[in-house]
Each structure stands twice: as structure tokens, then as C-alpha cells.
Amino acid sequence: MAIDQHVAGGHAPPHAADAPSTLTVGVGNRKLGLWIFLASEVIFFTALIGGGILLRLTSTPGTWPMPGEVLNVPLTSLNTFILIVSSVTVVQALAALQDNRRQHFRLFLVATFVLGAAFLSVQAYEYYKLIVEEGLMLSQFTMHGHHGEADVVVQSVYGAAFYIQTGFHGMHVFGGVLWLSFVMIKAFLGGYAPDDYEGVEIFGLYWHFVDLVWILLFTIVYLI
């Protein structure tokens, strides 16, 4: 409505169609919409993580492996590092766009895409190893015997909790990579400008949120 009045009054701002849609709350429509979506995501992941904690607290003693017993923590530490670096590349892309450094802007977007794809690849490899070599299934896992003892198959919902929490997070990363591919296409076709960065900003907000969830998941699922 504000923009309509601007146009009617003959004061159309440059890039009127693409300008951040500022309304009376002081936050653009798309940005506000994304924050509301993220609030719903907080509910979603809180339920998943809360459910995981509840399953762990109510599990039969000995049916929930200690950190590092089944999961490959060094490999996942690498993945955590990858995701943190990808968050930096997103904010650097936004900063480059705001400073009108177009080449850096596109470069940082590509870097983020590569890092996101790398995270998913490592996670796919991790799942493959866990299923084939560790025997981590939804309702059981294999506890390897130490000092020549036989392996023991333990009945547990540990696998279900693990795959659901990390799997839903992985799907969010996949969704983020898909979204990023559209942002990249628009960027390489000459889209976005120092005064038209809301599209990059809201993608960044989503990406950082997914990183934030991973920071919590990594600690809760892998380290404690």
C-alpha cells in the first residue's frame, strides 16, 4: 500500500518492485514471513530434540550408547566445521552485495553451495557407514565387543532418535541448498543490488538457523 501511494505521488523509488517491502512494523514482508516460519521451525525442532531427550532419559540402562561408541565424532566434527564456515560465507556474500562487490558476492554464494553439498555428502557417507558397518537401525544397534568379546546386538530406539533428529536437519540443509541454487541463478543473471538484498538476507537467515540447530544437535546427539 505504501509503495502504491509512492507511485501515485510520482515518487517511485528506484527498483520499486524489488525494494525491501517495508511496512509499518519496520521489517520487510518477506523477512517478517521468514521469521514467523523460523518461529514454527523452533517449535518443530524443539519437539524433535525434546522427544529425543525424553527417549534417552526413559531408556533402559545400557541401551543408549555413550558418546563416540557408535557415532563417528571426528567425522561429524569436520561436518560441524563445514557448516560453520558456510555460515560465514553467507554473511560475507551479503556484506559483499551491500558493498557492491559483485564478484565477491557471487563467489561467496558458490562457496556456500559447495560447503552445503559437502555437508550433505559427509552425512550420506556417515549414514552409509552407520547402517552397513555399525548396524545402527531404527530399533537396534551393534555394540562391538572389546578385547575379543563377541559383538552384542542391543534393542534400542537410539537409532530412531538419531536418524529422525539428524535426518530432518539434513533435509533442511538439502532444502537450503535447493533455495541457494535459485539465489545463485538470479545472482549470476545480474539480480540483486546494494539496495535490493532482501532475497539474499532471508536465505541467509534460514541458512544460519539451520546452522544454529546443528550446533545444538551436534552437542546433544553426538557429544553428551
Binding site: 505504501a2 523509488p13 525494494a19 525491501p20 517495508t22 509499518t24 512494523v25 519496520g26 521489517v27 521469521w35 514467523i36 523460523l38 518461529a39 523452533v42 517449535i43 524443539t46 525434546g50 525424553l54 555413550m66 558418546p67 563416540g68 565424532v73 571426528p74 566434527s77 560441524t80 566445521f81 560453520i84 564456515v85 555460515s87 560465514v88 553467507v90 554473511v91 560475507q92 556484506a95 551491500q98 558493498d99 546494494p194 539496495d195 538476507e201 541467509g204 537467515l205 544460519h208 538457523f209 546452522d211 544454529l212 550446533i215 545444538l216 551436534f218 552437542t219 546433544i220 557429544l223 553428551i224
Partner: protein, 118 residues
């Protein structure tokens, strides 16, 4: 931080609103992105240190029951760093942060309900 108590649709207020408040803040100065990155890496290294010593040397420098609250605290600090600096909540509208945290208040409540033995 900005609270609007007047009629939000008034022409007067719309005139006062900068068309692009974000840009005004960031014009040529950006938040300390690389410093935050450094802290995220340092905190992650501290987090994984005990489990790495356990894998490599077979012992953990910190007992597990002390490690749990310690690791959770570090994770919350890292998450807060990402939200405040990378998601710009430190520079953005206060109520955006309040909106995103409000579901957690309910989670705490339900957690307490579950924790009470009955």
C-alpha cells in the same frame, strides 16, 4: 530496539520510518563476522577436546556428569552468537528475537510438567 505504540498506520509514522533501516545500520560497517567465526571455531574445539582425548588417549579430562552441563552451556553460547551476529538479532527489531524464543518458554513449561514425578 524500537517499540511503536502509536497507530502504526498513521502517515506521520510512515514518514519517520526510514525506507531501509537495515541498510542505514550496515552502510559501510558490518558486524564482526570473522571475530564471531573465530569464537565459534574456538568453542567447537573446546567442545570436542574431551571426546578426542578419550578416542586418542583413552581417558577424558572431565567426568561425564560435569561435561554435560558444560557442553550444553557452550552450545547455547554458540547458538546465541549465530543468532545475535549472523542473524542480526543484535541489530534488528527486539520483538523478532522475542517471537522466536517464545515457543521455548512453552517447551520449558512442558519439560517441567514431564519432569514432575506423578
Amino acid at each position: 530496539m524500537q517499540f511503536i505504540r502509536k497507530n502504526p498506520y498513521s502517515e506521520e509514522l510512515r514518514q519517520q520510518q526510514p525506507t531501509d533501516p537495515q541498510h542505514a545500520v550496515h552502510a559501510h560497517k558490518h558486524p564482526p563476522y570473522m571475530m564471531v567465526f573465530l569464537w565459534l571455531v574456538i568453542l567447537t574445539a573446546i567442545e570436542v577436546f574431551p571426546i578426542f582425548t578419550e578416542i586418542i588417549f583413552g581417558f577424558s579430562p572431565v567426568p561425564h556428569n560435569i561435561l554435560v552441563p558444560l557442553l550444553l552451556t557452550i552450545a547455547v553460547i554458540k547458538a546465541a552468537l549465530v543468532a545475535l551476529y549472523y542473524m542480526h538479532l543484535l541489530y534488528d527489531k527486539f520483538w523478532l528475537g522475542a517471537m522466536i524464543l517464545s515457543p521455548l518458554a512453552f517447551a520449558m513449561f512442558f519439560g517441567l510438567v514431564i519432569a514432575v514425578p506423578y
